[in-house]
């Protein structure tokens, strides 16, 4: 029977070398939700994102995406299945132009992927102005817009963002938050993000999972997603 769940993570274990970082993470996300994963530094938030996209091998547990078990799929197969990933630090292709960076997302999107360059330029007009500029020479905020546009252009069902506001000036962070909310409203994109910036979390998150020591320890929803509760999780 079909459900509105797009992502189910069950008892996920993963780590680096012999050191476990994720120690039985379980979480679920419904279609069209914007869900934050918050917690202090070093609790495994970025590791969880890398595991979800498939850049880090899963030791145990399952990841179910659109009712299919994708645990054993490589990152490229997950991307083609509908994952979009914006990593911490952006990771744009530094020696390629803005246009070429977007082409990578567009070309890899394949025949099923909607080709959305003009839509990306609508959300991020700065990218259109700088489409011939080499990506490595752009500011952090512009690179972040490019990384989001590059993922968006493949028309992902689920967008995974790792600290989208890190090192970016507040006005651009606000613009990115508005764009993310528009993706959900206009394209139906589901968003899961890791963030430490209180304002960004409060601006876009509808639900939050709290992570501690490699596990999801509780979740916040609706009215619980407020400055006091989020700040308490980030600081304590």
């Amino acid at each position: 029977m079909p459900t509105d769940r797009i992502l189910d993570v069950s008892e996920l274990w993963a780590g680096y070398g012999a050191t476990p970082i994720l120690q039985g993470v379980s979480m679920s996300v419904s279609r069209g939700e914007i869900v934050g994963v918050i917690g202090r530094n070093g609790v495994g938030k970025s590791t969880l994102m890398r595991c979800l996209i498939g850049l880090l091998e899963t030791w145990r547990g399952t990841i179910t995406f659109m009712e299919k078990d994708v645990t054993q799929l490589q990152a490229d197969a997950r991307a083609r299945a509908g994952f979009g990933y914006i990593p911490q630090g952006r990771d744009v292709f530094p020696q390629m132009s803005v246009e070429e960076n977007l082409q990578v997302g567009e070309l890899i999107g394949g025949p099923e992927g909607r080709k959305l360059p003009e839509l990306v330029y609508e959300y991020f007009p700065r990218l259109k102005e700088r489409r011939r500029q080499v990506a490595g020479t752009m500011s952090g905020g512009e690179q972040q817009q490019l990384a989001i546009g590059r993922a968006l252009i493949g028309n992902p069902a689920l967008m995974i963002l790792d600290e989208p506001s890190e090192g970016i000036q507040p006005s651009i962070v606000q613009h990115i938050c508005d764009a993310l909310k528009s993706f959900r409203a206009e394209l139906g994109t589901t968003i899961v993000f890791v963030e430490q910036n209180l304002d960004t979390i409060l601006e876009i998150a509808e639900r939050c999972y709290i992570m501690e020591k490699g596990k999801i320890t509780r979740s916040l929803a609706g009215e619980e997603v407020n400055a006091d509760s989020v700040r308490a999780q980030l600081l304590l």
Binding site: I53, G54, L55, F93, Q103, I108, R150
Partner: protein, 240 residues
């Protein structure tokens, strides 16, 4: 004066052609994958032997050269799949493995084919300017080198494969996270590198007597006039 100027250009073109044709494949493999392919010379040898073999079977030279490049490229894809793929991000290990492959192939060819085979003769004839004669085929090689450069530029800058290949070269993990089949990109790139090496061997096969690498090295060291060694570029000759 014009004959001397042309002679300078001719010698430049000759060296340019050999350097481009012999190193283009090596540069692609190293640039894309960080692998120093010590077996690159063996792919050149493969191109040369296949060309000579096919021509002796009656295949037209140009077709034989094309088939030789394709053969070397396909062998390159197989080598990437069977050996090199396991050694990415291990530059010393990949260097050692390809060196081992080089030694095995060189000695195997020595055992199977012998120490030399008859060449197929340089096509196209020659022409004279002033007091000098020049090989027309050497100019064909120069044109081929320029064509290879233009072809590589178009392949890597203007095609879907090129955009994805450059993305993979700059950040393989991110390209993979965007859906790029990086394994396939690496295999194709290694095949292109090997194919270009094969093309080099195929194009130079008519200009030399084929002798395995190890022997050629020995011959060069022991010969009093190594400039006439096989695979060396010949200078324009003054008629007697």
């Amino acid at each position: 004066m014009s004959a001397e100027l042309f002679s300078v250009f001719y010698q430049f073109a000759d060296v340019f052609a050999f350097l481009i044709l012999s190193a283009a494949g090596l540069a692609i493999v190293f640039g894309m994958m960080g692998v120093i392919n010590m077996a690159h010379g063996e792919f050149i040898m493969c191109g040369a032997y296949v060309t000579v073999g096919l021509v002796k079977l009656g295949v037209p030279l140009a077709l034989a050269q094309g088939l030789a490049a394709v053969t070397a490229g396909l062998i390159g894809v197989a080598v990437e799949y069977l050996i090199v793929r396991r050694l990415y991000k291990r530059p010393l290990d990949s260097l050692l493995a390809t060196w081992g492959l080089s030694l095995i192939v060189t000695q195997s060819m020595l055992l199977i084919v012998g120490s030399s085979i008859t060449g197929i003769g340089t096509p196209e004839g020659s022409f004279a300017i002033g007091g000098y004669t020049f090989s027309t085929y050497r100019l064909v090689l120069f044109a081929c080198a320029v064509a290879v450069l233009i072809g590589l530029y178009i392949t890597f800058m203007k095609t879907r494969f090129g955009v994805i290949a450059r993305a993979t070269m700059q950040n393989a993990a991110m390209a993979k996270a965007l859906g790029a089949r990086t394994g396939r990109i690496y295999a194709i790139s290694f095949g292109i590198g090997a194919g270009l090496a094969g093309l080099c061997g195929a194009l130079y096969a008519p200009t030399m007597t084929l002798i395995r690498w190890a022997q050629r090295l020995w011959w060069k060291v022991s010969s009093p006039s190594w400039s006439a060694a096989p695979m060396s570029c010949s200078a324009p000759r003054r008629p007697p």
